[in-house]
Symmetry: C2
Subunit: 189 residues, 2 copies
């Protein structure tokens, strides 16, 4: 029998606030104090709900990764053939990328953490595994890896390129990467 004062939402609110603060200020600029203020909870609440900053970041980025992977699943599950899957991927890129600078920033922040700390690398790998599994519904494993890499690259460049990405180019790129290369007759030797 927990006390009635216990607020299960508070923990969630802190996690969401953490993601919001990180999206704007970066992991480097996200302190207990700023997150607490943004979430509207006292500073002491931070260490009460989360043993350390890393624990909070861990949970936050796990939530973030899952939310992105959910969209992957949704888009790809309803595709009925390969062409549908290709279209789904293009939509994924052009919907997720263009509308949300926030997701891009958070992705970069996560990758930066992942490059250095094993905990976050695992989170990233789990996320990538989910994405690849979704792609695996329609493409062979090797193609999944290539396509996944392409999506990643397009995603990242979208954040940095000054001009908006051209949808037709994305369509062509996805078509190419999902089409096995026809090796011409072997040349000399």
């Amino acid at each position: 029998m927990a006390s009635r004062r216990f607020d299960p939402d508070r923990r969630d609110r802190i996690i969401d606030a953490a993601l919001d603060v990180i999206a704007v200020q970066g992991v480097a600029g996200a302190s207990h104090r700023k997150i607490a203020e943004y979430a509207g909870v006292p500073l002491g609440s931070m260490t009460y709900h989360f043993a350390s900053m890393d624990e909070l970041l861990t949970e936050a980025f796990r939530r973030f990764g899952n939310s992105i992977a959910d969209r992957f699943d949704q888009q790809l599950e309803q595709a009925i053939d390969v062409d549908g899957a290709r279209l789904a991927v293009v939509d994924l890129i052009h919907l997720d990328l263009l509308d949300s600078q926030r997701d891009l920033v958070l992705t970069h922040e996560l990758y930066t953490l992942a490059a250095r700390k094993p905990v976050f690398r695992q989170i990233t790998r789990d996320w990538m595994a989910r994405s690849r599994r979704a792609l695996g519904l329609h493409f062979d494993p090797d193609t999944c890896r290539m396509l996944d890499a392409l999506i990643e690259g397009l995603f990242i460049h979208a954040a940095l390129d000054t001009e908006p990405h051209d949808r037709a180019t994305t369509v062509e790129a996805v078509a190419r990467i999902t089409t096995p290369h026809h090796h011409p007759a072997r040349t000399a030797q």
Copy 2:
């Protein structure tokens, strides 16, 4: 007539030290004090040679970007035909990626900064422009964009994937992305 005590190398040494410290500790963990200690210069030297931390980071990442782009140029300049260029790209990926965790970490750090601060976004764009220009020696502009994105994605995934990347897959991916998609006879409607 500058004083003979002036040491032009010192500034360079600080910049290199900054990159080394960032590679290990991240931008977040790279303080004036740590960089100074690593470079073997007094703390006061930091603010003497660089007006602010941002100025130091700016110069450091500009140097980093140029060093990578130089390798791009070297590899691609000596390719004599498209197949040679494809091979050069594969080598680029598998040499730069696999040998150097350092470059990967620094790239992520730069991108994270670029996602938030315009100064670093410009540095990243300059770097990307140089890379794309190198690719442009052998491929058409659209292909350059796609190939560039693919390289980026492979690069990034290499840092996070647990198992080493398969060269054959990279060869296939590069072949696919550089081969225009043959559109089959249009279907219904």
